[in-house]
């Protein structure tokens, strides 16, 4: 691994973790698509500020872009408050307009600076190590790594300091308001944080992939835990994992690193969706199958007990008759009987007759009275 590779991976991890931290609250507060809107419209802030200062490295750009992000949120809410359009349509109207303006301005006036349309979508994580931060002639590392590190620290500090406020207002907005936390202040403060993060990450991974890094790892983490602190830490870890895996996958086929990071974040989410211990799709399917068998076994117990000792017992309590009387397929009937037999609830007699064991009789009675 060359120094370059290390630096790119380091930047990728820092970007991913910085995005995932506010992403936790975006997911929980049902604001996931606001990140989509913000990450698009910050481009307009960057472009306008660039025309003003004529320098892509100027800190004013970050400031202006962040302001545009917050402005987007305000615009969406203002449009929604007119009650002329629903909230989803308001989002879908505001950011394409702002983004279109930015793209046209770039295409028209900024074609020959380092702000081209491809970079807007792809980011330039592979090239960012070439822009170094030098202080007094000393090389301190890639500039964007420093910027993102600062933003990461800002995120950690903000979450730590406003943990209680964010938590309460996310899970119980009414309680938060009653406790005297201003909902508007928390909301806009938080959206400001999301905007800063999106602006910093924009440089590395472009405007659309920011969304993947902000939403996919927290969503995956939410499937794995019910505890907020665990979710935050897990989101960071999954984001870092996606970043590193994405880097190596991109290296393997010589494709876009940012795109590959987003794809890996998707893979991680899909894995959590399918295989999460409690909430995964697979776990759900197995749970339902087991419940079905358990229910069928209980039904069998009750059926056997019901006909035990009666005149028809010879016919009813017969392996081959279960299909007919309980409408089970032969395969399913065999599985249920095997399961009950293994649990010591019934025994198979010669000629396919089924007989409850004392334990089974006890179980059937217990189920019936309950």
């Amino acid at each position: 691994m060359s120094t370059l590779d290390v630096e790119i991976q380091l930047l990728a991890v820092v970007v991913a973790v910085a995005c995932a931290l506010p992403g936790v609250f975006l997911v929980l507060r049902r604001l996931a698509l606001m990140s989509d809107a913000i990450s698009h419209s910050i481009l307009l802030g960057i472009v306008l500020a660039f025309f003003w200062v004529q320098d892509l490295a100027h800190p004013f750009l970050v400031l202006a872009a962040t302001a545009t992000g917050v402005l987007t949120v305000a615009l969406v809410e203002a449009l929604h408050r007119t009650r002329r359009v629903k909230e989803d349509a308001a989002i879908a109207l505001v950011f394409p307009a702002l983004f279109s303006m930015a793209v046209l301005l770039i295409a028209r006036y900024a074609g020959d600076v380092h702000l081209d349309v491809d970079a807007v979508l792809l980011g330039e994580i592979a090239f960012s190590p070439f822009r170094r931060l030098e202080v007094a002639g000393m090389d301190l590392g890639p500039r964007s790594l420093w910027l993102m590190a600062v933003i990461l620290v800002l995120n950690i500090v903000a979450l730590a300091v406003f943990w209680k406020e964010l938590k309460v207002s996310t899970f119980d907005a009414g309680l938060a308001a009653a406790m005297g936390f201003s909902p508007a202040l928390i909301h806009y403060g938080f959206m400001g944080l999301v905007s800063v993060t999106a602006v910093g990450a924009f440089d590395a991974v472009g405007s659309i992939l920011v969304v993947a890094l902000m939403i996919a790892p927290p969503a995956a983490a939410w499937l794995l835990t019910d505890r907020l602190p665990v979710m935050v830490v897990l989101s960071g870890a999954l984001a870092a994992l996606s970043a590193v895996a994405g880097f190596w996958a991109a290296r393997a086929i010589d494709a876009s690193i940012a795109g590959s990071m987003a794809a890996m974040a998707g893979v991680v989410f899909l894995a959590a969706l399918l295989f999460a211990p409690d909430r995964g799709v697979v776990a759900g399917v197995r749970r339902r199958a087991r419940q079905r068998l358990d229910f069928a076994r209980t039904m069998l117990m009750v059926h056997l007990l019901n006909h035990e000792g009666s005149a028809r017992a010879r016919v009813e309590n017969q392996m081959d008759h279960l299909q007919e009387h309980l409408r089970w397929s032969p395969e399913f009937a065999r599985r249920v009987v095997r399961r009950a037999e293994r649990q010591g609830l019934l025994e198979r007699r010669p000629g396919g007759r089924l007989r409850l064991t004392p334990l089974g009789r006890e179980e059937a009675r217990h189920r019936m009275v309950r």
Binding site: V27, R30, L31, A32, L33, S35, D36, T82, R84, V85, K86, D88, A89, I91, A92, L93, P96, A97, F99, S100, M101, V103, L104, A107, R108, V117, D118, L121, L122, I208, L209, V210, V211, A212, M214, I215, A216, A219, W222, L223, A250, I253, D254, A255, S256, A258, G259, S260, M261, A262, A263, A265, G266, F269, L273, R279, V281, G284
Partner: protein, 395 residues
Amino acid sequence: MTDGGLFHALLFDYTLRTVALGAGALGVVAGALGCFAVLRRQSLLGDAISHAALPGIGLAFLLTGSRATPVLVLGAALAGWIGTLFVLGIVKHSRIPEDSALGIILSVFFGIGLVILTFVQRRPTAAQAGLETFLFGQAATLMVRDVLLIVGVGAGALLLLALFWKEFKLLTFDREFGGALGFPMVRIDILLTTLLVVGIVLGLQTVGVVLMSALVVAPAAAARQWTNSLSVMVVLAGVLGGVAGVTGALVSATGGGMPTGPVIVLMASAVVVVSLLVAPGRGLASELVRRFRVRRRVRADVVLSDLYALAVQHDESGEHAHPVAVLRAMHGGQAGTRRSLGVLAERGWAREVEPGRWAITPKGVERARTLFLPGGEEDGVETVGRGGVAPGGGL
């Protein structure tokens, strides 16, 4: 180029005519289909579909080596459809809310699409040139056969829309009722979503994956402001979408290779802004006018109630006139008393007996009684005397 020149070119320039026709047809189809997306609160599903289509374009090219539009559109449609299924599946089978599911699908699929596109671009063949126009769209690349594809498939989609009109309407406004009537609502939902996917992928070459959703949402949102009828809304959205498409494509094609998507989106956004402001009934301007009228009426009623209170206290005939200053003092010195008196005079509810002194007319007395007296005169007078609005009064 002057307007006249542009018009001339539209009629006689072959390329320009092709481009305008394609973008216009696209706008009609997207606008009409978009109505259902907007009404069903699926505006952002369109965004997810259009982004999710990107890997389909890349894969279709990778597998077939063909840049023919139908091939790429088919790939895009399949990918967009799979993306939609993923969104629905995630929402159904996990606790992830819809907005997060949309965000994940749109960005992850887009990421996969970029991986495929960059992978394709770095291979040593030249045939891949032009795939990146699918990001922001380039109407100038539209050929006649592309336009025929848009018109043909779009007409098919609109035909289906007309055939299943009743079903789609039921789905949009009262899904449960439709189910109770025995319609297969799930299948109808799938059909309508598929039409939306088709409408979106048709526009990818012209508008691009990043902004196509705006061409779906904006005309519908604009049309919604002008009407409360679904059929009028669909037709109007089609017209507005078509206008945005034609003008956007023309500006882009004649304006030095600007990407078409953003221009069309800005046109459509302008239509939305205008509609929000000036549409009769729902527009913000008419809302302002309405509020102004209500405020003026309420103020006049307050003054009328004061005059009535004075009349009751002095003499029932209402001959006794009162100075404007008294009336003003009665409701806290608010401005506009004279204007309110003017309004009352216009309706014949009050008259200026001598300059600066006003009295209530018999008609005004009647009006004041109908306004405020649900529970007996004394009670009413007392309430009115406080300058307030009587509880239960029929304002």
